[in-house]
C-alpha cells in the first residue's frame, strides 16, 4: 500500500519523459522508444493501482504488452522500409503526406 504513491510518481515521470521525447526528437527509432516508454509508464500505473482495485489492472497489463509487441513488430518493419527508401530515419525529411 505504501508503495502506491511513489509508483504513480515514477510512472508519471516516465510518461512525461516519453511525451517530451515524442514531441522533441526527430529520429524515428528514438520516437518509437519513447512511445514504448509511455506504454510502460501506463503499465506501471495499472500494476500499482491493482493492489487497490483488484486484479483487472494486472490483466490489462498483459493486453498492453501484447499490443505493444505487435506494434513494435509493425512499427519497426515500417521504419526499416522507410530507411531503405530514404537512407534516413529522420522524420523531418519524411513528409510525403503533406496536403
Amino acid at each position: 500500500m505504501a508503495l502506491i504513491g511513489p509508483s504513480l510518481a515514477v510512472s508519471a515521470i516516465l510518461f512525461v519523459i516519453g511525451v517530451f521525447g515524442v514531441l522533441l526528437r526527430r529520429n524515428a527509432i528514438v520516437l518509437f522508444m519513447c512511445v514504448e516508454l509511455m506504454l510502460n509508464a501506463v503499465n506501471l500505473t495499472f500494476v500499482a493501482l491493482s493492489t487497490v482495485y483488484g486484479l483487472a489492472g494486472q490483466v490489462f497489463v498483459f493486453f498492453v504488452m501484447t499490443v505493444a509487441a505487435a506494434e513494435a513488430a509493425v512499427g519497426l518493419a515500417i521504419i526499416i522500409a522507410i530507411f531503405r527508401h530514404h537512407k534516413s530515419v529522420d522524420l523531418q525529411n519524411i513528409n510525403l503526406l503533406r496536403g
Binding site: 515524442v22 522524420l91 510525403l96 503526406l97 503533406r98 496536403g99
Partner: protein, 687 residues
C-alpha cells in the same frame, strides 16, 4: 351453370332499374379508348395492316354513336316526366386531397346529351370519310389512333361532372389537336403549326386554371352540380369575383375556340389532314369554349359585364375573321376563317344569355362546316391526284388552280352548294334558323343594353360577308373555266363512295337541321321540337338570374321580327349573288401566273398582318428576353455559375483550408493530438 344468360339477365335488370347510364357512359368513352389502344398498337407493330384499321377506327365510333342514341332514347323518356334528373356516374375517387374532393365522375344532362350526339355522330361520319381520304397514307394506323383518342377526350370533356374532369378532356383534345396538326411532321411548317396551336391553347388554359382556383376558393367544391346550385347564394350578382371567374373562363374559351386575341392558331391548324380540320377544327373541339359557357351559364348570368365582353369579342371576331376570309385563296384557309367567324356568332349567342341559340348554331355549324371541310377534302383529294398523275407540282389547295370542277365532281359540288346556302343563311336551311336566332336575340338585348345593337350590326355585316366569301369559294372552285391545266384536268374525278356517303348524310342534316329549333313564327306549320325547351333544365337557373337582373334575352316580336327576318334573307341572298357575280366576272389566273394583291386587298390577304404583329411585339421580345435574361443571366449566370459551379468552388475552398493542416510533419500531428487529448481530459475533469 348458365353464366352468360345470368349475366344477360342482370344487365337487363339494371336497364330497368335506371342504372344503365353507368354502363352506357363507360361504353361511350371506353370504345374510342379501346380503338386508340388497338390502332396505336397496330401503328407500332403492324404499320401496313390497313384493312383492320379501316374496320376498327370507324367501328368503335359507330358503336359509340349507337350507344349514345340508345342512351338518348332512354334519357329522353326519363326526362319527359322528370326533366331535372341528372345522373352522375362516379367511377372512382380521384382527387381526395384535404377538403378538395373531385371524384372521377361523368354527368349526363340535356346539354351534354346534345354534345354527345354531335361528337359521336359527326365524328362517325368523319371517321368513315377518313377511310377514303387517308387510305394511301403511310401513317394510316397512327392517324386513326390519334382520331380515336381525340374523340375519347372530347367525350370526357362534354361528359365530365366537374371542372377538373372537363379540364382533362380540355387538355386531351388540345394534345390530339397538336398531334394531328403536325401529323405530317416531316415538314417544318406543319410541326410549327402544331406547336403554335399548343402554345396558344396553353395561354387560354392558364385562364381556365385560374378560374378553377377562384371557384375552389369561393365554393370549396369544383363539381358542377354543387357550384351551379350554390352560385346565386355564394356569389353576389355583378360582383368582382364572379366577373373575374367568368372572364378567366372566357380566356380559356378564346384559346380553345379561336377567338380574338388567340385565334391565330386555327388558320395555321389547316396544315393537318382535312378530315382533322373538319372534326377537330370545325365541328367539335373548337366549340368546346361555347359548351363551357353554356355549361357555366349560371355564372355568366351573374356577371353581366362578362356577358358583354363575351358577346363583344364574339361579334368582333365574327366580323374580323369574315373580312380576312374575303381574300384568301387557299380553300381551307377560307373555311378556317369562316369557322373562326362562325364561332364568333356562337359566342355572341351565348353572350346574350340565350344559351340555346349558341348551342343551336353549334349543332348546325357542326353539320354544314363538317360538310364544307369534307367537301374541300374531296376537292383537294381530286386535285392532288390529278397533279400527281400528271407529275406537276402545283398547290392542290389554291382555288386559283381550280375552277369548273362541277363537271368532274357533281356530288361534291351539289353538297358543297347546299352547305354554302346553309352557312349563308338561306331559308329553310339549318344555318338560316340558327344564325337568325342569334341576330334576333342580340337585337332584342339591344333594347336594354345599347351595346348589343352595335354587336347586332357587326354580326349582320359579318353575315353579308359570309355569304359573299362562300359564294366566291363556290364560284372559284366549281364554276367558271377550269384552271387546273388540260394535262392534269383529265385526271380529275369524283371521290369514292366512302367519302361522298358521309357528305350526303351531312348534306341532309344541313338541310333539315333547322328543324331542331324551329322559331316561334314557324311553329304553326312545323312540329315544335325545340332545342330551347330541351335545354331548359340546364339553362333555367341562368335565365332566372337574368330575369331578376333585367338582363334576360328577348327575341323581338311583331313587325320588328318580320323586318329582321327579311333583312337576314336579303343579306344572305344579296351576299351570295354579289360574291357569285363578282367572282365569275373577274379574270382569275392560276396561282403561278397571278400577280399579288394590292392595297387593302393585300392587307386582307396578309390577314391584317396580325401574325407579323404578334411575332414582332410578343414572340420576338419574348425570345430576346428568354435569351438575354432567362438564358444568359438566370440559367448561365445564377444557376450554372452560382449554384452548380459555386458549390464546387466552395467545397474546393474548404478542402484547401483542410489540406493546409496536413503538413506531413509527424511532430505537428503529435502536438495537435496532445492538445486535443488535454482538452478532452480538461473537459472531463472540469466540466
Amino acid at each position: 351453370m348458365h353464366l352468360p344468360f345470368e349475366l344477360g339477365g342482370l344487365a337487363q335488370g339494371q336497364a330497368a332499374s335506371g342504372a344503365p347510364v353507368e354502363g352506357a357512359v363507360v361504353a361511350i368513352i371506353g370504345l374510342p379508348l379501346a380503338g386508340f389502344l388497338l390502332n396505336g398498337a397496330l401503328a407500332i407493330l403492324r404499320p401496313r395492316a390497313k384493312a383492320i384499321v379501316s374496320v376498327i377506327g370507324p367501328a368503335v365510333l359507330l358503336a359509340s354513336f349507337a350507344v349514345s342514341v340508345m342512351l338518348f332514347r332512354e334519357m329522353a323518356a326519363l326526362w319527359h316526366t322528370s326533366p331535372n334528373v341528372t345522373p352522375v356516374v362516379t367511377l372512382w375517387p380521384w382527387l381526395p386531397v384535404g377538403a378538395l374532393n373531385v371524384p372521377f365522375a361523368f354527368q349526363v344532362d340535356q346539354l351534354s346529351m346534345v354534345m354527345l350526339l354531335v361528337v359521336t355522330g359527326v365524328g362517325s361520319l368523319i371517321h368513315l370519310f377518313s377511310v377514303g381520304y387517308m387510305r394511301a397514307d403511310e401513317g394510316y394506323a397512327r392517324y386513326f389512333a390519334y382520331l380515336n383518342l381525340f374523340v375519347m377526350f372530347m367525350l370526357v370533356l362534354v361528359l365530365g361532372a366537374s371542372f377538373p374532369m372537363m379540364f382533362i378532356g380540355w387538355e386531351g383534345v388540345g394534345l390530339c389537336s397538336y398531334l394531328l396538326i403536325g401529323f405530317w411532321f416531316t415538314e417544318q411548317a406543319n410541326a410549327d403549326a402544331g406547336k403554335k396551336a399548343f402554345v396558344m391553347n396553353r395561354i387560354g388554359d392558364f385562364g381556365f386554371l385560374v378560374a378553377m382556383m377562384l371557384i375552389w376558393r369561393a365554393f370549396g367544391s369544383l363539381n358542377f352540380i354543387d357550384v351551379f346550385s350554390r352560385a346565386p347564394a355564394v356569389l353576389p350578382a355583378g360582383g368582382a369575383l364572379v366577373t373575374a371567374i367568368t372572364l378567366f373562363l372566357f380566356l380559356g374559351c378564346t384559346g380553345k375556340s379561336a377567338q380574338i386575341p388567340l385565334y391565330t392558331w386555327l388558320p395555321d391548324a389547316m396544315a393537318g389532314p382535312t378530315p382533322v380540320s373538319a372534326l377537330i377544327h370545325a365541328a367539335t373541339m373548337v366549340t368546346a369554349g361555347v359548351y363551357l359557357i353554356a355549361r357555366a351559364n349560371v355564372l355568366f348570368a351573374l356577371a353581366p359585364v362578362s356577358q358583354l365582353v363575351v358577346a363583344g369579342i364574339g361579334a368582333l371576331t365574327a366580323l374580323f375573321a369574315a373580312t380576312i376570309a374575303l381574300r384568301q385563296y387557299d380553300i381551307k384557309k377560307v373555311l378556317a376563317y369562316s369557322t373562326v367567324s362562325q364561332l364568333g356568332y356562337m359566342f355572341l349567342g351565348v353572350g346574350t344569355g340565350a344559351i340555346s341559340t349558341g348551342m343551336f348554331h353549334l349543332v348546325t355549324h357542326a353539320f354544314f362546316k363538317a360538310l364544307l371541310f369534307l367537301g374541300s377534302g374531296s376537292v383537294i383529294h381530286a386535285m392532288h391526284h390529278a397533279y400527281e398523275a400528271s407529275h406537276r407540282h402545283e398547290d392542290a389547295q389554291d382555288m386559283r388552280n381550280m375552277g369548273g370542277l362541277a363537271q368532274y365532281m357533281p356530288w361534291t359540288t351539289g353538297l358543297m352548294v347546299v352547305a354554302t346556302l346553309a352557312i349563308a343563311g338561306v331559308p329553310p336551311l339549318s344555318g338560316f334558323f340558327s344564325k337568325d336566332e342569334i341576330l334576333a336575340v342580340a337585337f332584342g338585348r339591344g333594347g336594354t343594353e345599347p351595346l348589343f345593337r352595335l354587336y347586332w350590326a357587326m354580326a349582320t355585316v359579318a353575315a353579308l360577308l359570309t355569304a359573299y366569301y362562300m359564294a366566291r369559294l363556290i364560284a372559284m372552285t366549281f364554276f367558271g373555266e377550269n384552271r387546273t391545266g388540260t394535262e392534269s384536268a383529265r385526271h380529275l374525278h369524283e371521290a369514292p363512295w366512302i367519302m361522298t356517303g358521309p357528305l350526303l348524310v351531312l348534306g341532309i342534316l344541313s338541310i333539315v337541321g333547322g328543324a331542331l329549333n324551329v322559331p316561334a313564327f314557324a311553329q304553326d306549320f312545323l312540329t315544335p321540337a325545340r332545342l330551347e325547351f330541351w335545354l331548359q333544365p340546364v339553362t333555367a337557373a341562368g335565365a332566372d338570374i337574368a330575369t331578376r337582373l333585367g338582363t334576360a334575352a328577348h327575341t323581338p316580336e311583331g313587325t320588328t321580327e318580320t323586318a329582321l327576318l327579311l333583312l337576314a334573307i336579303v343579306i344572305a341572298v344579296g351576299g351570295l349573288v354579289l360574291g357569285w357575280a363578282t367572282t365569275l366576272r373577274a379574270r382569275i389566273l392560276p396561282a403561278r401566273d397571278s400577280s399579288p394583291d394590292r392595297g387593302f386587298w393585300k392587307v386582307l390577304y396578309r390577314k391584317y398582318y396580325v401574325d407579323e404583329l404578334y411575332d414582332r411585339y410578343v414572340v420576338q421580345p419574348l425570345v430576346r428576353f428568354s435569351r438575354t435574361v432567362l438564358w444568359r443571366t438566370v440559367d448561365q449566370g445564377v444557376i450554372d455559375g452560382g449554384l452548380v459551379n459555386g458549390s464546387a468552388r466552395l467545397s474546393r475552398a474548404v478542402g484547401w483550408i483542410g489540406s493546409r493542416l496536413q503538413t506531413g510533419q509527424v511532430g505537428l500531428y503529435v502536438v495537435l493530438f496532445l492538445v486535443g487529448a488535454l482538452y478532452i481530459l480538461g473537459t472531463v475533469a472540469w466540466p
